[in-house]
Amino acid sequence: MRKDFFKLDSRGQAALMDSIIFLTIVASITTGMFFFTINYGTQTADRVNSFYSSDFAVDALKVITYINVLRTGEDFGRITSMGVVELDYLLALIKEDYADTKTLSPETTNAVVATLGATMRPFDRAYDYAFYLVTVSEPKNFLFVVLALHECTSYPSVCADPTDKTKEIDRVFYYCTPGISNFLEKDVFPRVGKVDSGYGKVTLSEDVGTRSESRIYIMGLQTWKARNVSTLTDLDDPANPLTCRQIIIPTP
């Protein structure tokens, strides 16, 4: 009988306890749901973005190989010569030069940079990139590397001041013939964040005596979000082992 009375008196408290437990359960479920919601779709969105990015690099590489160049290396918009002009493809120029001297002539070098500049112009503000030809077989030898970077072109004192908003950041092209085989992997890619890549295979032939010898090269285009990388400035310094020279292409 006494037990019954005790139960009757505690009924309100028990209900309160039950509801607090219910609140605790709901709170933990909703917390889980909240964190699920916050993270929902990010992985899928990242995956879809990476589809786009890899498509972008491959498309850009295709466009570089498709478009016509002038054999003089001039820009179409700035042709000074009148009459018939000689049109070709970039790869044809590269193959011819390789067969002759295993290096690129100044005209072909200009054509490579002009082609890159023209293809990537709409994305110039956002991206930096490297375009290169490298042997498949080890040790890897670069035929050339073109690095398109954003660099401060104001006075050194202005560039050195991180708070100075007046500094001018311009697109700079470097044409390099590095002796170091892994400099992109070692000195560039770890410092620039996410890198999107497009690759193609190219066979280049050279005459050795009476026969022709072929070598397979990888043609690569790697793009990343433009950023200031301290190891990638003033590459045309003669002391730099990358042996680069700056190439200026006129803006249209």
Binding site: F22, L23, G41, V85
Partner: protein
């Protein structure tokens, strides 16, 4: 005997009434339900919004892949035929695609698309020649049945550029040439 027991229960102190007795426990229950349903609706909204964005993005990539093919557009007719084929697929979203020359002006992209949706094509669009030799812009539009025009949805605008090569007829030094030039395909998806 049973009635007597009940009587004793009612006589005990602390009893307010059938609801009054449970009032303190109702407050956490109400808070729990409120919390649950607000987080639930928040989750549903985010879920829908995220799915919508991802589907739009996938539609964009899918349409772009079909339109640009191998990233080489040899003439206007080819582009136009691909556009007509894509429209038959009945995508869940509306979209507009335009090709700009690589040297083009992209500052007025939103405005260009909004006006092109109403039939006023921007001079910034790359132009080609159709079968009757008329100059036509490289432009493709699909509007899902029931969707509003793009201009009214400008806030959700998220354009994506795709590099392409386009063959064009150009006059250089007094001579006409067919030249493959770099261009950029811009695209908007809404709905």
């Amino acid at each position: 005997m049973y009635l007597k027991k009940i009587k004793i229960r009612f006589g005990k102190k602390g009893f307010i009434g059938p609801i009054g007795d449970d009032l303190p426990s109702l407050i956490p229950i109400m808070i729990s339900l409120l919390l649950f349903f607000s987080i639930f609706s928040f989750t549903l909204n985010i879920y829908d919004a995220q799915n919508d964005e991802i589907r739009k993005h996938i539609t964009m990539i899918s349409v772009a892949r079909s339109l640009k093919g191998d990233s080489l557009i040899t003439d206007y007719e080819l582009f136009n035929n691909k556009c007509a084929k894509i429209k038959e697929k009945k995508f869940p979203y509306s979209f507009m695609v335009a090709i700009y020359p690589a040297t083009g002006n992209f500052e007025t992209l939103t405005q260009d698309f909004a006006e092109a949706g109403e039939g006023n094509f921007s001079i910034n669009f790359l132009r080609g020649k159709d079968e009757f030799d008329d100059s036509k812009p490289y432009f493709c539009k699909y509007r899902k049945l029931g969707n509003l025009e793009f201009s009214s949805k400008r806030q959700t605008f998220s354009p994506l550029p795709f590099p392409v090569a386009v063959q064009r007829e150009r006059n250089i030094g007094g001579e006409d040439y067919y030249i493959i030039e770099p261009a950029v395909m811009h695209m908007v998806v809404w709905g």
